[in-house]
Amino acid sequence: MTRRLRAILLELWLPVLGIALWWVLSDDSTSPFFPPLRRIVEAFRDNWLFARIDTDLVPSLTRFVEGFLIATVVGVLLGLALGLWPLARRALAPSIDFLRSIPAPALISVMILLIGFGDGMKVAAIALASTFPILLNTIDGVRGVEPQQLDMARVYKLGYWHRITRIVLPAASPQIFAGMRVALAVALLVMAFSEMFAGTNGLGFFIVFAQETYRIPDMWAGIVMLGIVGYAVNLCFLAFERRILRWHRGWRATAQER
C-alpha cells in the first residue's frame, strides 16, 4: 500500500508543483498575455460552469462524435474489403496514399468548397481526416490474420460471414483500435481547427474569438477546457478499448507464456 502511495506521489508531485508555481508566480502578473491563474480559474468558472456548455461545448462534442463514428464505420468496412481483396487494395493504393497525404487543414478547405460552411462541412472534414488511420490499420490488421486460422475455418466449412465476424474482425481488432486511437487525436485536431477557421460556435471558435477581442483570461480558460476535453475523451476511449479487448489481452498473455 505504501508502495502504491509512493508511486502515486511520484506521478503527481510535478503537476501539483507546476500548478502551485504557476499560481504563486503569476499572482501579481501584469503581463496582458499571462494573466494570474486566479483570473483564469474565475474565467473558467464563468464560462464553463455551465454557461457555455450548451452553446459551445455540446456542439463541438457532437460534431466530434459524429465525425469519429462515421470515420470508424467507413474505415473498418473499407479496410475489411481492401484487406481481404488484394486486387482492390493494389488498385486503390495510389488514390488512398494521395488523399491521406493532403494536410488535414487543406481537407477542411475541400469540404468548404464541396459542401459550404456549416455543421455538415465540419463533420465531413473530421470524418474524412480521421478515416485514414483507421482504414490503414484495419487493412494491416486484416492482412495479419493467421492464414492457418482461416484455413481451419474453411476446413470446418464456416461461411464467409462467420469467417469475417468470428475470425478476421477479432484478430484484427487490436490493430483497428490502435488506428482508432490515432484517429481520435486527428478528429480532435480537425474539430478545433475547423471551428477556428470557419466557425460560429464551438470550443475552437471560442478560443479564437476570445483572443481577437482581447479577453485573454477567457482565451486561457478555453485552452484549458480543450485540454480537459482531450484528456477526458482519451480516457473514455482507453476504458472502452480495455473492455472490448479484455478477452484479447488474456489470450495474448497465455500465448506468450507458452
Partner: protein, 286 residues
C-alpha cells in the same frame, strides 16, 4: 505448436505446387499486367470523375473537371510565386521540425534514461498529449505576432511531443540484457549511452521523426490558412475565398503531392535505420 505450423506451411507450399501444376506457373505477362493495376485503376478513377463532371452528374461549379484542375496546376508550376509559397511552407516546416528535434531528442533521452524521472513526467505527458497543439495558436499569435516565427514555433510545439515520447519510449525499451552485459563489461555511462542506448532507441526516434514530419506540414499549412502567413496554405485560403475552384483544388492537390514526397523521403530514412537494427539484434543473439 511449431510442428503444426511447419506442417501447415508444407501443406500450403504443396497446394501451391499443385495449383501450379494444374493451371501452369503464373505467366510473366500476367505479372507485368498486375504491376500496372495501380496505374490503370488510378487513371480509371480520374477518367470516371471527368466523365461524371462532363455529363453533369457532378455540378462543375462545385467540383471542377480533373483536366481543368490539372491545367491549373500546370500553370501554377510554371509560376515563380507558386514555388515561393512552397518554399515559405517548407521553411516553416524545416525550422520548426529542426527546433523540435534539438529540444525533444536530448530531453527524451535524459528523462527516458531514469525511471523515476519518467514516472514523474508521465501524468503531465498523458494529460498534454491529446491536446491539439493548434489550441495554443491564439496565444502564440499574441506572443510572436503574425509571421514566420509564429509558424516556426507552432510547428515546433506540435512536433515536440511525438518526438519526445518516441525518444523517451525508445530509450526505455532498449534491451535490458544488452545494457546489463555492457555494464558487466564495465562500459562507463557515456560508452553505454553512445553504443547501447542511442542505437537501441534510433528506430523509435526515426518513427517519431516520420510522424512529426507530417504533423509539421499539417501545422505549417494550417497556420498559413488561419492566420494568413505566406505559404501554400495561404494560397489555398485565398483561392477558396475568391471562388477560384480549379485553382483551390490544384493547390490542395499540390499540398498532397508535397505530403507524399515527404512520406516517401522519411519512409526511406526509416527503412535505412530499420535495416540496420535487426542485424544488430542478430549479432547480440549469436
Amino acid at each position: 505448436m511449431t510442428d503444426l505450423s511447419t506442417q501447415a506451411t508444407t501443406v500450403e507450399s504443396h497446394s501451391r505446387t499443385i495449383r501450379w501444376l494444374r493451371h501452369g506457373a503464373p505467366a510473366a505477362a500476367g505479372r507485368g499486367l498486375s504491376a500496372l493495376t495501380p496505374v490503370l485503376a488510378t487513371v480509371a478513377i480520374v477518367a470516371g470523375l471527368q466523365l461524371l463532371v462532363a455529363t453533369g452528374a457532378i455540378d462543375e461549379r462545385v467540383f471542377p473537371r480533373p483536366t481543368s484542375i490539372g491545367s491549373e496546376l500546370w500553370d501554377h508550376v510554371q509560376q515563380g510565386s507558386f514555388w515561393e509559397s512552397v518554399l515559405r511552407t517548407l521553411e516553416g516546416w524545416a525550422l520548426g521540425l529542426g527546433l523540435a528535434i534539438v529540444v525533444a531528442v536530448p530531453l527524451g533521452i535524459a528523462i527516458g534514461s531514469s525511471s523515476s524521472a519518467y514516472r514523474s513526467v508521465r501524468f503531465v505527458v498523458d494529460f498534454v498529449r491529446p491536446i491539439p497543439s493548434i489550441a495554443l495558436l491564439p496565444l502564440f499569435i499574441l506572443l510572436f505576432g503574425i509571421g514566420m516565427s509564429l509558424k516556426t514555433y507552432i510547428v515546433a510545439l506540435g512536433c515536440f511531443f511525438p518526438l519526445f515520447f518516441q525518444t523517451m519510449y525508445g530509450v526505455q525499451s532498449v534491451d535490458p540484457i544488452t545494457l546489463e552485459t555492457a555494464r558487466a563489461y564495465r562500459l562507463g555511462p557515456v560508452m553505454r549511452f553512445v553504443f547501447v542506448s542511442l542505437p537501441g532507441a534510433t528506430p523509435m526516434i526515426a518513427t517519431g521523426l516520420r510522424i512529426s514530419a507530417s504533423i509539421a506540414l499539417l501545422l505549417a499549412v494550417g497556420t498559413e490558412m488561419v492566420v494568413g502567413v505566406p505559404g501554400i496554405g495561404y494560397d489555398i485560403y485565398r483561392a477558396q475565398y475568391a471562388g477560384e475552384r480549379p485553382a483551390a483544388f490544384a493547390l490542395i492537390a499540390a499540398s498532397g503531392v508535397l505530403g507524399i514526397l515527404m512520406a516517401i523521403g522519411f519512409n526511406r530514412l526509416e527503412r535505412v535505420t530499420l535495416r540496420w537494427h535487426p542485424s544488430q539484434r542478430r549479432e547480440s543473439g549469436e
